[in-house]
């Protein structure tokens, strides 16, 4: 199911006279979506409304955003730039990071915050390149989180020698939905997109593609073997994020990796 849709069911529409914005298309009544209310989840209000209303107007991600701001301040105080690297699973983030570390070792002091639902497989692949690595297994949380949030990154920071570093690369959990929602305190967001994913992905995951300053278009070495419509992809990407920078790359052959490293250096 596409994420970019109007929410038709299950949601009621409150017109509470607060004005100032337009409302969506009227949403269906609860009766229109009974299958979405198992065991009466929508309806098991045990209370009668007293009619008294308490104004709240508080952002639900407020706590995350405050922690993200604290992370950002901590990076800045240490003179470190942080890049939040996102992608779907298998797009090539870890391979790109390996190539990045092997090229930049000796030039930049790099820390990696590695988000993974389980295992240290990715962190293991990055060992031996002189970078400082802090692993976050998000599986320890409430059923396993599908993204890194600001408190998780905050918990990883004490495990990195920030004052000794120039750059922190935050490898997010492979997922095109949730990581786009959570500010972790990065200075820039970039994503790795693999051409094996199909050209329609920017339209299906517009929030992710729009959140990034840079899209690394990876696995370009496979182009001759795929029915991939590169122009169609670029057209879709520009509809969603006209300002995105684009680097064509193959982490496997090394194509474009220097351009990516230059982009990282330019953040410093």
């Amino acid at each position: 199911m596409g994420r970019f849709h109007r929410h038709e069911d299950g949601a009621e529409h409150a017109h509470d006279g607060d004005g100032g914005h337009s409302h969506g298309t009227p949403v269906g009544s609860r009766a229109g979506a009974p299958e979405h209310a198992p065991d009466g989840a929508l309806d098991h209000s045990g209370y009668q409304t007293s009619g008294e209303r308490v104004e709240v107007l508080e952002a639900i991600f407020g706590e995350n955003d405050r922690t993200a701001a604290a992370n950002r301040a901590e990076f800045a105080a240490a003179g470190v730039r942080a890049v939040n690297l996102m992608s779907s699973p298998g797009a090539g983030k870890t391979t790109l990071l390996r190539e990045t570390l092997s090229r930049l070792a000796g030039q930049l002091r790099i820390g990696v915050i590695e988000g993974d639902i389980e295992t240290s497989l990715d962190a293991d692949r990055l060992a031996g390149f002189g970078a400082e690595i802090a692993l976050i297994n998000t599986g320890n949380g409430f059923g396993g989180e599908c993204h890194l949030d600001a408190p998780m990154v905050a918990a990883a920071l004490p495990r990195l020698p920030l004052p000794e570093l120039d750059l922190v690369l935050i490898e997010n959990v492979g997922n095109l939905v949730c990581p786009a929602e959570f500010d972790v305190g990065q200075d820039a967001r970039a994503m790795v997109y693999a051409i094996t994913e199909g050209e329609e992905k920017p339209l299906k995951y517009p929030v992710m593609f729009r959140s990034c300053e840079l899209v690394v278009v990876n696995k370009m070495d496979l182009l001759p073997y795929l029915d991939f419509d590169l122009d169609g992809f670029l057209d879709n990407l520009r509809k969603v994020n006209p300002a995105a920078e684009i680097i064509f790359a193959s982490a496997r052959t090394g194509e474009g990796v220097d351009a990516w490293c230059d982009w990282l250096r330019a953040r410093l």
């Binding site: 994420r3 849709h5 109007r6 929410h7 069911d9 299950g10 949601a11 009621e12 529409h13 409150a14 509470d16 914005h21 337009s22 409302h23 969506g24 298309t25 979506a33 979405h36 209310a37 065991d39 989840a41 309806d43 098991h44 209000s45 045990g46 209370y47 009668q48 409304t49 007293s50 009619g51 008294e52 209303r53 308490v54 709240v56 107007l57 508080e58 952002a59 639900i60 991600f61 407020g62 706590e63 995350n64 949380g141 409430f142 059923g143 989180e145 599908c146 949030d149 939905v177 949730c178 339209l203 517009p206 929030v207 729009r210 520009r238 509809k239 969603v240 994020n241 006209p242 300002a243």
Partner: protein
Amino acid sequence: MHELSICASIADIATRHAAGRPVSVINVRVGQLRQIVPDTLVYCWGLLSEETPLAGSRIIVETVPARIRCRSCERTADVGDLPVFACAGCGGIDVEIVAGEEFLITSLELADAETGAESETGAGS
């Protein structure tokens, strides 16, 4: 999706504002560009709130369509169902999002303490 952890944040905020009073409805405003599925949010709330002083309350979601404003020609328009962030008037790509990124609790509706279920009153901390 992360609706379950979002419900934990909602519970924290609502509990603080309710200050021990029983709550019947939590009104939540969700922009179209937030990747929140209202059904899932409502369902997760039923699960998560069960063990809290907010048990018995329900979430009502108000959705806000995405709107963009073109900085070149000043035209403002709904984005619609296709995520095209360019001006339909002049074709300009220098647009700003003016609505659709909301994600907040707007208000709580309090329950009548007399009919309020079982022992929840005063349980807030």
